[in-house]
Symmetry: C2
């Protein structure tokens, strides 16, 4: 496995493989890898001749007062996980390598970015779209892998790739969870023991919402309020949003139909955790 830190090394390293007709898969990450990332790598290694993982904590997608400085990092451990997963190349650039001067270019996907996370983190998705566009330019992947935990991020990236005709297939992989239902996230690292014990309430709130959808509930307010009430049973949890929205657009509607996504953001102390699940409204 090669550890690369320069954009030119990535390009020339992959050009050799492309010239031989090999397919390239990309797993973009911010590092501090867990089994969720490992599942993306397993999928990528299975689908492609060559797989590259990027590890870059992207300053553009952190707002003021967010956790850019404290975001957990452990490159040595990350490299072990990549090696174990059969990754061929790791691209771990410095901030200076990625942004040698202030970036003037911004890629935005305004409609998909506006609700939910976009309300809490107004510049987050433009930072994500910009760095992912740049990583796609650097790597030139045939396929890129993202976890379904960041459902709205997936919708933003998918829309960007379609709108700009990017020659890449955006592949989503299922959420990986702890046995008690907590979705894996690098930010779980921030949880105290007490917070960790209560955090699975998020999964239980989603279960309750899914149950309502499956039972035929089409009023998003009813589903959202049931999920919020469930989250409120955890004294250390503070609800940011509970949403029941159409799965593709994520834009609130007064009556649900078709494929629905339930999304939650809940603060536990220093950690702001997000999670989601989906279901179909029964045809009547």
């Amino acid at each position: 496995m090669d550890l690369l830190t320069k954009i030119t090394e990535v390009r020339s390293g992959l050009d050799v493989h492309r010239a031989e007709g090999r397919t390239v898969g990309l797993v973009p990450t911010m590092g501090y890898l867990h089994a969720g990332h490992a599942s993306l790598m397993t999928a990528a290694v299975g689908d492609n001749d060559i797989t590259i993982a990027s590890i870059f904590v992207n300053p553009l997608q952190f707002g003021e007062g967010e956790d850019l400085d404290s975001y957990p990092r452990d490159l040595d451990r990350d490299l072990e996980i990549c090696r174990a997963e059969g990754i061929d190349m790791v691209f771990a650039p410095s901030v200076e390598e990625m942004y040698p001067r202030p970036v003037d270019t911004v890629v935005t996907v305004p409609t998909v970015s506006a609700p939910l996370e976009g309300v809490a983190r107004p510049y987050h998705f433009s930072g994500v779209a910009t760095v992912v566009a740049k990583l796609f330019s650097i790597v030139g992947p045939c396929r890129a892998y993202f976890g379904a935990k960041d459902w709205q991020q997936l919708a933003v990236i998918r829309r960007m790739a379609v709108d700009l005709s990017m020659p890449v297939e955006v592949v989503d992989c299922p959420i990986v969870r702890e046995p008690d239902g907590l979705a894996l996230s690098s930010r779980n690292f921030y949880l105290t023991a007490d917070e960790r014990a209560q955090a699975p309430v998020i999964r239980r709130a989603l279960d309750l919402g899914i149950e309502l959808v499956v039972d035929g509930e089409t009023n998003p307010k009813v589903i959202e309020s049931a999920m919020a009430t469930k989250v409120a049973t955890a004294p250390l949890g503070e609800l940011d949003y509970a949403a029941a929205v159409p799965a593709e657009t994520l834009v609130a509607d007064s009556v649900l139909a078709g494929e629905v996504r339930l999304l939650l953001a809940v603060r536990f102390g220093k950690a702001r955790l997000i999670d989601n699940d989906g279901a179909f409204i029964r045809e009547v």
Copy 2:
């Protein structure tokens, strides 16, 4: 020469050549080709194994009340010019092919886009950057060719390509002029005979500004006002802006130094014409 209208045809057509290791040059145009475009094609055909020209009047870069509907079009004549220049493929998509549904993704380069044209046409450069990013994704060129007449556009595209690490060399080609100094532009088509007769005042105003710079003038106000006074000698011309700014950033400064660009935008009836020229401030 192949005429292609579908994105998938372009991609598969070029992949065949790429697999053989051939280089690809792109000349993006809005059609109604003139000798300025032909000079881009000459350069591209000389530099690359395969050259593709795109012809697409991009609605995203026209503001309300601008000339999207009346913009001149003549595909048959354009194809003759492309054939004569040795172009291998022409990509002339419909608006529906490029934008099958409303585009939510926007690529912006705010700082470089803000002054000059950006004041007169606030959404113009985001439309340009977005369609050029999309054309780059569709074609995957090694090199792309743009005329220096649209100097600020060139600065926007160059900055986008650098910021996003796009694997393409942005090549600029010198302005091509009529014998009397008028820069070639598809919009010259709008000029009446009287307006056409007076339009070369733009070149003469630039000459005057360049003379001042060469003579050591470093106060942009003096240069700008001299150019404006010259333009005012043409009764049918209405000055939009006359600017003397640093060549790369285009951001106004109180004292000029290094490489300077002089830029003019002048309305003659229905035509809004732009032109520019550059010089170096003498080291003292």
